[in-house]
Every structure is written in C-alpha cells, then in structure tokens.
Symmetry: D2
Subunit: 366 residues, 4 copies
C-alpha cells in the first residue's frame, strides 16, 4: 500500500532512492499565498546534508533543491509543490558486495522478505537521503507556523552517555555546535566520544529533544488522532528511532497522581499550568503549554567492524562493510525530527479548523 505519504490536509509524499537519479517530495494541500523561495528550503537542507563536520560522513553532496511546481510569483498556489534534489555523489561500486548479503541492523533482509528483492545501492529507499523530502516539507511548515507565533525547536539531548544540561540549555545555540547540542561542554565531550567510536570502527546512539512553544489549546483529536499519537507516528517513522516520550515520558510510570497531575491556574483570564508533566497534551489535545517530546536513536548500523550474517546463497559469513558512514546520526537527524514535528502540528491545526460549527458559519456566512 501507498506508504510514502504523511499527513491529511497537508500530505507529504517522499520519493527516491539513495543512488537513483534524484530524491524529492510532493507537498499537496499546503495553503495558498505563503511566500516561499528555494533559499528558504535550502537553508534547512544544508543542516542535514553530509560532510558538514569532522563527526559526519565525509561524503560531500550539495543537495541543491529545485522547486518544480506549486509556487508562482514567489507564493504557494495551493496546488502540489514538487521539490527535487539530484543525487550527485553516487559511488554505486561501493555497494556491489552488499547486494549479496544482509547487513545486521539494516532493512536489507526485511526488504527482500517483503518485495522479493531490493535496490541495494546505499540503502536504497531506506537511505537517510529519503529524509531530504521531509526536511524540504518541514521548511515550509516551520515558516508557516512561525507566522502564527509557533516555534518548533529540536536539539541533540544526548550522545551515548553524554547528556546536555537540559534545564539550562539555550536552544538558540543548537545549530552552532557540530553535535547540535545546545551545551558547549556536552558538545565537547560528545565529540570526543564520537572520535573514539570512529577509532573503534564503531557507532553510538543518542536522543533528540523537541520543544514547541505557542500552540493554542485544543489541537489534536480525543480518540485515534491524538496529537501525541500523531507525533509518535511521525517520530517513530524516522529511521533508527526506537522510543518516543511525551512530557515526563517513561518517568510517569513510577509517578503518583498527586505529583503527576499539573494544577491549572487562571490569571487575568489567561489559563496556565503550574507544572508541565503532561508535555503540553491532555486527552490527545494540546493543553496550551509547551509541547515536549523526546526521540531515542539507535547507533548507526553501518560499522566497519567484522560482523556475522548470511548471504543470498544461504551461507553464514563474516562481513566488513565499506563506505562512508556517519558514526552518529543525531547531528543530521535534529532537523529531520524538527521537520516531522512541524508537519504533524501544522496538519493537525488545519484539520482542527472546522471543529466548531460557529467557525464554519463565520467563514461561510456573509
């Protein structure tokens, strides 16, 4: 089934394999009349492209985006926005070996099981390059949300056992560090850890935090399209994510109602909460507080060490994967998480517009 689309009112469809001609996306249903240009999108793509620093893959790719449709005289037209990035740094030869066996921790075996075969070059459809389409779509949504006073911020929260000091973090620093940690000390320690990983021909996991400010109360649905469920879907749908938390997350399981319930208060008709254990979502709908989310990433499965697996001939073999891989995925994944959160939230806000009959009547009655 068509499994490459995300969203309802805004529907993002990504396409493309790592070593095909190009990757891209179609963003359908985006409201008409927002100013957008290629540079607006490029600046976000530049945050995920490879080769940005010593701790990322040395592959160099320009990842230049082209707008092919849906924008006219500098504005979105309401029709599908088609965006494309040509693949330019393809070394298919690197992948001849991979065709013959199934890499541990990768989708190779699952892919062959599902479809009977796979485009094995560079991970094919499971390549991180697929996220280019998500970030391009995210760029539009982030811009639109900002116009409504909503900021979606993401940042590296931990790499291995190196955690930032989350309470004191200044999130405006995120994109100033190569780890995307908004904490200079943690950034330094994490960089050392990554260097050690590279020496050990190993990789390491980590986590990414998200904070969304300015969301009005009432976004999301009370039963199946809960805002937290939509966000969990969005974030768990990013390759390598193995856990998602909202608000206090796992900690709530050891908590008591008397401490976990956030007391409400009202001052000058403005409602607020004295704490935010809920992470900004109650009963599946935003409660007006900051939305707090965390995603946990496994270590990059591509490592140069000898590993055990089997091949297409049905033999157990030892393999050594070649290629230019990221020892850690967080620095490039931060903008992907930020993008998916933005698409999810904007879509939920558009879905929410007809929730009250009076809003519908107001729009259509002269």
């Amino acid at each position: 089934m068509a499994g490459s689309s995300f969203g309802n009112i805004i529907r993002v469809t990504t396409w493309g394999e790592s070593h095909g001609a190009a990757v891209g996306c179609v963003i359908d249903g985006f409201p008409a009349g927002m100013e957008i240009c290629e540079e607006d999108i490029q600046k976000y793509l530049d945050l995920r492209k490879p080769g940005q620093s010593s701790i990322s893959t040395p592959r160099k790719e320009d990842d230049k985006v082209k707008i092919l449709s849906g924008v006219f005289e500098g504005k979105t037209t309401g029709t599908p926005i088609s965006l494309m990035v040509e693949n330019t740094s393809q070394h298919s030869a690197d992948y001849n070996d991979i065709a013959q066996y199934y890499r541990p921790g990768h989708a190779d075996y699952s892919f062959d099981s599902k479809y009977g075969f796979r485009d094995y070059r560079g991970g094919g459809r499971s390549s991180g390059r697929e996220t280019i389409g998500r970030v391009a779509a995210g760029a539009l949504c982030l811009k639109f949300l900002k116009q409504m006073g909503i900021e979606v911020m993401a940042y590296t929260r931990s790499i291995g056992k190196v955690y930032i000091n989350e309470e004191e973090a200044d999130l405006s620093l995120t994109y100033n560090t190569i780890t995307r940690m908004p904490d200079l000390e943690a950034d330094k320690k994490a960089t050392e850890l990554i260097d050690e990983c590279k020496k050990n021909l190993d990789s390491v996991g980590g986590s990414i935090g998200v904070k969304i400010t300015g969301v009005p109360a009432g976004i999301g649905d009370p039963v199946f399209n809960k805002l937290d469920a939509l966000l969990a879907d969005a974030v768990m749908g990013i390759g390598a994510v193995k856990a998602v938390e909202i608000g206090d997350g796992i900690k709530v399981s050891e908590s008591y109602g008397s401490t976990n319930n956030d007391a409400f208060e009202i001052n000058n008709k403005v409602v607020s909460k004295k704490s935010n254990h809920s992470g900004g979502i109650l009963g599946g709908m935003s409660d007006g507080s900051d939305i707090i989310l965390r995603a946990y990433f496994k270590p990059t499965p591509s490592i140069a060490r000898t590993q055990q697996t089997f091949n297409k001939s049905g033999e157990n073999i030892d393999i050594n994967i070649k290629g230019r891989h990221d020892p850690v995925i967080m620095p490039r994944a931060v903008i992907v998480v930020q993008s998916m959160a933005a698409i999810t939230l904007l879509d939920a806000m558009l879905v929410n517009m007809p929730a009250k009959a009076e809003n519908v009547l107001k729009m259509y009655t002269k």
Copy 2:
C-alpha cells in the same frame, strides 16, 4: 476531522460516551468467512470491565456485547460488523460538579478549547469506556491472527517501582493475577502498593509489555507506515500512555553499533537473529523475530485528594473529585494494549498482500 477511526484495510470506528445510551464500534473491511460469536468477544470485554477485583473501581458494569451486523450464520460476511454495549451503571449526578471546573490531568480543558463545550459526564468521550470498542475489535483480530500462528501477548510489566522479573515471566499467567503481572511475587507487592495508594487517596502509574510471536518478515512499510510507527500511533493513542518503546527502546541511545546490531544466522534455510535488540522490526518492516513493545502509563488522574484548578467563572479553586475511580489503570489496560497491537498487525498484514506482483498474479490468474 473524523478522528475516531483506526486502520486501513480493516477500519475500526469507535463511538460513544461514558454516560450516553451505549458505546460501540464498527469494524469495516474484516475478511469474510471467519467464525465469530458474541462469546468470543465477551471473554475479552470481561478482561477490561470494571469491578473485577479489589484494586479496580467498585463500579459494576456487565458490559454485555451485542453483534448488530456483519455476522451471518456464525461467520463474518466482509461487511461492517457493528458491536454495541449498553451503558447501565450511569450515575450522572456524580458529575454535576465536574461540569463547572477543569480537572487537572484530564482532557476537560482541552475539550472545551477545541469544541467550545463538552459532555462532562464521566469523562464523556475521553472515558475509558471508549476502549470497549477497541477490545471488541481486538477480539476478532486476535482470533484471526491465532489462525495464522501469531500470538499477541500483553502483560503488566510494572506498577510504580514494582517490576516483574521479565526474563523469567511466564506470560500464560498474565490473566491469572489481579494486577495482570505474570509474576506472583510482583503481583503481591504491587497489590500492596495499590492498597497504600488507595489509603493515600492517590493513584500510581506503570507499564505494559507486549510480545508478538510468529510474525513473518516483511510486514510494514519502509518509509511512513513503518510497523513500529503504526504500533507507536496505536499505543500512544490509548489514554494515559506517555511513552512507547520498541525492542531495546530508550536503552539504544546509550548503546554502540557493535553491540546493538543483531547478527543474522541461517540454519537449514531458516533465518534467525542471535539477539533481538531491534524488537523484531528493522527499517520499519518485521524481521521475523518476536515483536517487543512497551507502553508507559501515567497515574490515573482522578484522585480524591484536594487539587488546584480554575472554574468556568474564571476563578482559581480547590476541588475534591468524587466518584468511583481506578487507583491504577494497568490491570484493565492490558487487554486494550493487546487489542490495539492486534488490530495494527492484522491490518498491516492485509495491506501487505499486494506487495509482490507475483502474489497478485497468482491470485488473479487462473
């Protein structure tokens, strides 16, 4: 937007409020020809109904299910299966106070923000009674999966800080204990903890584990409808869940590629993995190993202690919630998690049928 449906090929729509005439669901798209009767469904509903033990709400509800359509001569017909449970233990009077204020930890404020008002009786649509529809639908899916050799098992894993010994747990014991912990010792300790909570007019959180055996490799989609993303959506969409883990979950963030990658091996043409850190899903598709999932629940927000909030007149007030509430949600939520996992998996398997052209040709070519 229509937010009360779940699934694609099989689409479950739940309806009903806690204190309306009835609650129920429509299961559309279920394959034709499976034997089913009301008893098959009732036995699962009985596992979630209130008043089963000393640690659950003393409310008594029979929750008798009626099949209204979609079953003929004891078999599913392929047309929508409509199931209904009448509400019989409604004490609307209990809720007159609640109409006037916003309970901490509940959806009251979110609901009013979204829709302008709400059915405040017993949580209305956000009531746990909504899950009756999910369990009824789950009953059908669990039965069908079993015919394909697939077992979906769920169990209470922790209540507060009381954890079961997960490695040694015998999951066949789950429904023998009142906590649904498959560990008699932990069950005893947890029961004591809950008794203490009740004395303290408090509630406590916990976690539920899921293990699914027998799933073939290749189920789920590689990009947006990843099997883990679908499961995260399903489980985060259950009220009170604040975190979801697949496989090693959060732990992977501190892990290294060399330990986290699961080595493949093949013996007599049968593929297996030497470990299962992935929790049975690689690249969004099942990898043939057991699927492992955990859901973390917050403490029941309904507690009898004095709490701070505001009322409809815009005043800050102290409240004491009356009513008959569960001090812990796990015992009744286990079957809900089990049901949502079953619906998700069966639907993904049906979606997967046309993945290979050769399977389509085989079905339609004489």
Copy 3:
C-alpha cells in the same frame, strides 16, 4: 477494504443488513455545537420509509431513529454521532429460496464471487435499508447547510417515459406528491404507469434531479477531488444508479464551445453567469451558480415475473421471486440522493477551509 465510509472531514460509516438486528451509521467529524434532535432526523427518514403510498412496497416499517452518542444537551459535541434504527418487519422466511440461486439484476452473484457467501436475507447489505444511515447523516448536513444559506433540493424528474416539465417545476411541491414529482400532471401519469407495471409484475426506471442554491465559488479541488467527481462518486454509489450528469450533461457532447461556454458578467461587484451550462462547476470547483445534477436509476430488479438464472447446484433454472417490492424506486430514493449531495457538499466546504493561508492565519492569530 473498509468500503462503508464516505467523506473526509465528515466521515459517514453505515452498517447493517436488511434482516439483521438493526441498521445505522456513525457520523464522525461533524462540527460541534449544532442543535439536533431525533425529530430533526426522523422527518427525513419518514420520507424514505416503505409503505408511504400505493406505489411503494406494502411493507410497514416504523424506522424509528435513536441517537446513541455524540449529542449532548441538544447539540452535536464534535465526537462520533451514532444513530440506529432497529429492524422490525423481518420476514426471513420469504428469503429461503433466494439463498439457493442468483437473482438477475441483483448483487447475489457478485457478492458470492467476492466473499464466498452472503447474507441472502432481503438483499443483506445491498438492501435499500442501508440508505437509512445515509439519510440520517444527510439530515444533519442539510440542517447545517441551511444555516449557511444553502438549499439542496432533489426531486423525481422522470419515471419511465413520463417527464416533468422541469423549467416550470416548483420544487417546493416535491414531497407533496407520491411520486416526488414537483408537477401534478406528471405525477398523475407516472402513477398510472406504475399501476400498469404492478399489473404486469414489472418495474420501471426513472431519474432524479438535484438543484443546489447558495454555494459560494471555489468549493472542490482542481484535480482529483473535483466537486463534480465527488458528487458523481456519491450518486453513482447509490444502488441502481447507472448514469450521472452535471449541468448540461450528455448534451454537451453535441454542443459547440461558442454556445456551451457561459459568459460571465459583473454588476455592483457581484459576479454571475448569463447561462449555466456548466451546472455550477468549472474546473472541478463551484463557480457560484446553482449546482445542477441528474441521476438515472434502473428499474427495481425485484420483479415477480418468471426469470432465468442458475442455482448453487450449477443448474439453469426459472425463478419467481416472492416478497414485497417497490415497482419503482424514485419516490423513496429522492431523499437518498438529496442526502448524499448534502454530505458531499458540506464535507467539501469543510475541506476547503484551510485553502487560503490568510484564513488559517486569521483563525489562529490573536
């Protein structure tokens, strides 16, 4: 696949077979805050119920609707509205023969081919009783549209070769005649034709017209969810409909651009068209003129005459269908067409709300 739901923002799911316990529908996504009561719905159901006149089936069914959820203190709450009508006039015995063979013009053979067997009692899921759910949902949509100044009118346009004088028809008369023809003379002639059909143990076809006034320009999408395509889907999805026309319909195929194009004009900033060959839709979006639609119905396939078919034993046989059938479907189908048109239009208007970025900003920016 789940094929019993219709709509996007508003999603109507019907369920139930002719001779099951009940039929009904769930209307999910309906905006919150509209006043509604059972009588509002009942009056439309009464327009489709059997036994209303000499030209309809003599079966008597009360078709009393119950609201089971989604309405609180007389208003829609935004949550799923579950409606049920119990089946009370079931003569299952009438249908024992039918179980053994395949009626010409009916879905019996298609059903068995698809699902392997069928609920053969009274047409099962293909019974006209399924439309009870559509009319109930239509009642809510018609009421809401009226509040926006939009009238959806349907009427019998022809029965056999008896046509109304469409240009002079007063559509307010529609429900005053037993044929639902807004033309007393045609009504008389058609009644005679139907009486003749009954004598001949035969049935006859006809057509239904729809006129929608007050629709703002710009509703519908320019490519795949064209308003005319959505309406065609809605109306062709009613049993027995074999053709759908928008505006001039079939006639346009013999027309010239110079006569078929509708000239625009503007007076005091109000845009209008000098003709309405387009039937109110240009490029898939409403153009501000009346929306004009026609649906063509085949004769009721249930006739008492001897017919040729085959049975489950694989023998060619002659059959004589018993039971109480409508010799013509139009009188009871008018309200079904009207309902489907209303659901389609209201849903398209809700979908359209976020089309302009400025409308989104206006709603969410304080």
Copy 4:
C-alpha cells in the same frame, strides 16, 4: 486538502503546471517486480501529446518521460515511482492578457475564488498537461492488467453529432485514426466537422467509450466504494467531462425490469449473462461481464471568437483568446480515460485481495 492523489493501495499523485519547470507524478504502492522501462511509458504519452495531427493543437512538445525512482534493474521495486516530463514549449507571453480576466468555460474564476489568485499561464494546474501524470501511471497499470488477461480499451465514440457504428467497431483500429474513432467513415466525417469548427473559430464536444474485458467477478465494494462509483469519480475527475454512464446508462431510466435484468446462465460451470445491460457491474461489484462505460466531454472552452466576461478591475469586457488550442479534445483524451479506468480497476483488484479470510490464510500460513 491534498486533492492531487488518486487510489488506495496504488496511490497516484500528479503535480505540475502547464508553464512550470515540469509536470510529473509519483506512483506509490505499485506491486514490486513488474518489468518496466521508459519506452513502455513513452508510447502512451505519445498518444496524448500535442501536435500529432491536423486536428490537434499545433504546439509541439516532446513530452519525454524520465523515471527518477522506484525502478531498479528494469523492475518496479514496490517503492514510489517518480516520473517527470520537462516542459519545453512554454510561451508564457501568450498568457499575459489572461492574467487580467476570467475566461468563460475555464477554471480561472473558480481558482481565484478558492485560493485568492492563480498561476494563469496556460491554465496552470487546470491545464491538460496535468494528465501526463495520469497517462504515465496508466501505462504501468495497463501493463500489469494485461498480464492478468485484462484489456482496458477506450475509443472516441462521437464528436459533435458524428457517432461511430459502435456495434461493428473494431477497437483495435482506435489509435490508427486521427480522431481515435475505430470507424473509418465516422473518422472522415468527424475530421470534416472539426475542420469546419476551426474555420468558425469554434470547438466541439464528443464522447469516449470504454470496454474492459477479462475482469473477474467480485471486484469493487457493495456500499461506498462501488466499482461504478470509483470509475465515475475517476472519469468525472478528468477535465471537461460532464456525464458518465455505466452499461445502458441513461437509457435504463426508460426501461422495465423485465427487459433490463440480465438473465444468468451457466454452462460447464462457467457463469455468463445473456445480455449486459448492467455494463458488467451489479451491486457495485463486477459481475464477470465486460465493463462498459461512457464519458461525455464538453467542447474545448478555449475558442478564438469574441466572448463576454469581466476583468480584475471589475469591468464587463469582450475578449479574444489567443494561443494554440485543440478544437476538440477527444483524440488526446482517449488515452487519459483509458489510463484512469486502468488505475481504478487495478487498485480495486489489489484492495480486493483480503476480502476472503481463506485467501489471507492461504498467503500467510506455511
């Protein structure tokens, strides 16, 4: 809302405006393992491209398709197939006038009403060039259906008042004539009519027939996703179509049950019908006979004659549209109708795979 996608299991999303950089489509969910190459698609695109004959627009466009993803080593991979055709014959200058006013019969006014403005160059998104994506997707579906013994044939049935002799038509001749009429005599007369239209600065309408052979019984759903409703949606969603008929279509409204019911017969266990008034669909599901469909097209709205309309300054004006337009749309629309029918049917067949529990069990039980 995202309105540029069509289908469920196979989901086709088209994108692109007439005078943007390119047009294209993404085909998601296509089964893996079917052989396909650019030439397979190009041959269908060549059947719709402009400048093929004296009766089509003199614009010359190569419309060369590129496969950007989803095909590996000559086979579909199951992942999204991205196809692109660059726009090369753009004369934007032709359209400067059009920006200022609203062309009768076009979507200009509807577009501005919906979105606030429009890409006015060459019809923008409402351009016939949008159908390039549909034909490209159709090419894949037609190829797959053929492997299952299913032929989808379309042909020009009438142009103005010139009709083919449908009973004697040899549909293999369709693409041999410039009108796409499978009747040499009618082709000659229609060509004369079109020449006359061109002299008169006018355009003319027509109709297209579809015949699908080899469809097994049971495809389509009994209530809302009826096969005829899906086809009506697909075909009414093609620009300029104003009516759709299945089987006998409009004629059934004057028919009697005794003549309209198709008698079944069985011979050597093979079921057939003695007539096919139903057009191969009963109760929304295929009945095993040929599927018969007709689509009626309005005359091309772009004519060079003086027409009345209004402009952006709110003045009533006379206009003379320049540009290179088709005096008749049928010859180029035949392949579009054929494509939409093929996409609809193949998707419905894939959706149908899990209809019987026994088929699901057969696929998943070893």
